[in-house]
């Protein structure tokens, strides 16, 4: 027993000492969201050891950020979450002098991302995407006719069309700040509106189509789409592409399409940021600068199939990806993209209440 105690004391001390090395950078990123050689290349080039952890929801990250002293040096929150965490003082301003590769970034997209982070003071864009419609091409054609062109929110928000698709399964994200603006957009209202009347109109429409919705979930649809268990999902672009890739890998006759509706779609940004108490802020800057390298960003996009905001990397991205309007929208489609507005606490409560009403139907 004495020996066991001695052994465990030593081992615990040793476990604590591992983190006390000098040249380290602790990265906390979404799972499956980086090329498989990025970390290796960074370690080779700089000699800094990368400790790489992953999470699967903004909420998990937010809990760590708001508690403080998480130990992480670089994290990747989505725009609206970043904004709230900046408000709570969770991030330090970026040192622009340490980030020469900032010149590679697309000024238009950076300006759009500034909606979440004024003047891009705290963060730069990692990847971005849209919230559109993923659908089973064969199953939809079977029910709506070969000629029906999927290019509008009507596929989900027109009760008549939705009724025809209900038997094979329509799903929505369990995210009111994505679904309400989409419904408002379909109604011709400003999707960024925070007027209670507009939000209520959106909720009204969502309630109307509710009988045709199979479930509200933000992750289950990836596999279900790929398996052919559902046929239409409001989903995040990259997730739908995952489903697409998986379906073609299995080759069971399921073909998945992704479309940004003509009316418009939400544009979201995953942002690289440095926590205010990051233990290795210098290395964090080096890492972010490294990611913004044209070749590195191109490698990541080629691997994860998400759009980046790096103009210099465009020639290096596979033709197959740059020419896909679902990933890199056409100029015309770009016009109609919107970003999440700033919701104050009162609007937040209203949205939560409306969403509960929609989901429970009461």
């Amino acid at each position: 027993m004495k020996y066991l105690f001695a052994i465990s004391t030593v081992a615990i001390a040793a476990a604590g000492a591992v983190t006390a090395q000098d040249q380290v950078v602790n990265i906390y990123n979404w799972s499956d969201y980086i090329a498989d050689d990025t970390i290796e290349k960074f370690q080779e080039q700089t000699g800094i050891t990368v400790v790489y952890d992953v999470y699967d929801s903004n909420e998990v990250l937010e809990a760590k950020m708001l508690t403080g002293s998480s130990g992480y040096d670089v994290v990747v929150p989505t725009g609206s979450f970043l904004q709230r965490q900046i408000g709570a003082g969770a991030y330090q301003p970026l040192d622009r002098a340490a980030l020469p590769n900032l010149v590679n970034m697309d000024p238009d997209l950076m300006a759009a991302a500034a909606a979440y982070d004024a003047e891009n003071e705290h963060a730069t864009i990692y990847m971005w995407g849209t919230t559109g419609i993923g659908y089973n091409i064969g199953a939809v054609a079977e029910r709506l006719g070969e000629d029906y062109e999927v290019d509008s929110w009507a596929l989900i928000f027109d009760p008549e069309i939705a009724a025809k698709l209900a038997d094979c399964g329509i799903t929505m994200l369990d995210a009111p700040t994505e679904m309400l603006p989409a419904a408002m957009n379909y109604l011709g209202l400003d999707p960024q509106s925070i007027e209670p009347a507009d939000l209520e109109a959106g909720a009204e429409l969502l309630t109307q189509v509710r009988p045709h919705i199979r479930y509200y979930n933000s992750s289950q649809y990836i596999n279900d789409l790929a398996n052919g268990d559902i046929c239409v999902s409001v989903g995040w672009s990259g997730d739908v592409f995952q489903a697409q890739a998986r379906a073609s890998e299995v080759d069971a006759g399921v073909e998945i399409g992704y479309v940004i509706p003509n009316e418009g779609a939400l544009q979201w940004f995953d942002m690289l940021a440095i926590p205010v108490d990051a233990p290795n802020a210098d290395n964090a800057h080096q890492f972010i600068n490294f990611i913004m390298d044209a070749q590195i960003t191109a490698d990541i996009t080629n691997y994860v199939w998400y759009a980046n905001a790096n103009l210099a990397s465009m020639p290096l991205v596979d033709e197959e990806i740059t020419s896909d309007p679902g990933i890199f929208p056409t100029e015309a489609a770009k016009e109609n993209l919107w970003s999440s507005p700033v919701y104050n606490a009162r609007t937040d409560r209203l949205i939560t209440r409306l969403w509960t009403t929609v989901k429970t139907g009461q």
Binding site: A15, V51, A252
Partner: protein, 269 residues
């Protein structure tokens, strides 16, 4: 009586089916060729090969095993001391309160344990600078905390059942109390120590909630990594890893069972 003879085996069979069907399907699907969990694409061992090339999952599994081993050991030490105090010392005034308190972590929701430990670690870091940041150390401490509660309950029940007279005989023959503890008491309660250790080990390996609260950079446990992958659907190499773990645990439990039954015979119980 004749009815019962059919009824019992059927119910037993259904009960075991209920317990083991999920595990069996996991093992079967770990040999599935297809990447989709629900589609059978033929027999293949490729996910075992894939698993060996996935440093993230292997690293997390190694971290989880280290944490489980150390925290279970720590839990057994604390649990034995606590159980010994609660079962051997004459009735003291707060004994029943302490008895009740040691079982509290058993019924406390993980979220509350995790959050309170996190707050304590953050406060301690501010006050005395230790533990500096969060990582394996904090997970080990957290797991030992609730593991000790389980271990104490298991060991205490064994201590209460134990025949005190053999300890008294040793004392009468002139053995020092420490000697009695290590030579008499410990061997007698050894089976409880083993099962308590295994229980704490399993609980630690299993825990997701508490570990997510108190983990830091570079200390993602296996459940955390698997959970973060679930969003894109569990990849089949996780099934392969789970199959290997089930195999190891089965061997461990069988070995422990043999050991316990042997030492039980030796002591004449």
């Amino acid at each position: 009586m004749k009815n019962r003879s059919i009824f019992l085996p059927v119910v037993t069979g259904l009960g075991f089916l209920f317990l083991y069907a999920p595990i069996a399907s996991l093992i079967v699907f770990s040999f599935n060729e297809s990447k989709l969990v629900t589609v059978w694409g033929g027999f293949s061992t490729k996910w075992y090969g894939e698993l060996l090339r996935d440093p993230q999952i292997l690293g997390a599994a190694w971290i989880s095993l280290k944490i489980a081993f150390l925290s279970a050991t720590l839990a057994i030490i604390i649990g034995t001391v606590a159980a010994f105090a609660l079962s051997r010392f004459p009735k003291f005034r707060t004994k029943s309160l302490l008895n009740w308190m040691i079982t509290a972590p058993l019924v406390m929701p993980d979220v509350i344990i995790g959050l309170s430990l996190l707050l304590m670690f953050v406060a301690m870091q501010g006050l005395i600078g230790w533990p500096a940041g969060r990582g394996m150390t904090t997970i080990i401490i957290a797991h030992a905390t609730f593991g000790a509660a389980y271990a104490a309950v298991v060991i205490q029940s064994r201590l209460v059942d134990m025949d005190m007279s053999i300890e008294e005989v040793a004392l009468d023959l002139g053995a020092k109390p420490m000697r009695v503890f290590f030579d008499i008491t410990l061997p007698v309660i050894a089976p409880a120590l083993v099962s308590g250790w295994l229980l704490a080990f399993t609980l630690s390996l299993d825990d997701l909630v508490i570990a997510s609260f108190v983990s830091g950079p570079g200390s993602s446990t296996l459940p955390m990594v698997i959970f973060s992958k679930v969003r894109l659907g569990v990849s089949p190499d996780v099934n392969a890893l789970a199959t290997i773990i089930i195999l190891i645990i089965s061997v461990g439990i069988i070995a422990a069972a043999i050991q316990i039954s042997r030492s039980g015979k030796k002591l004449g119980n």
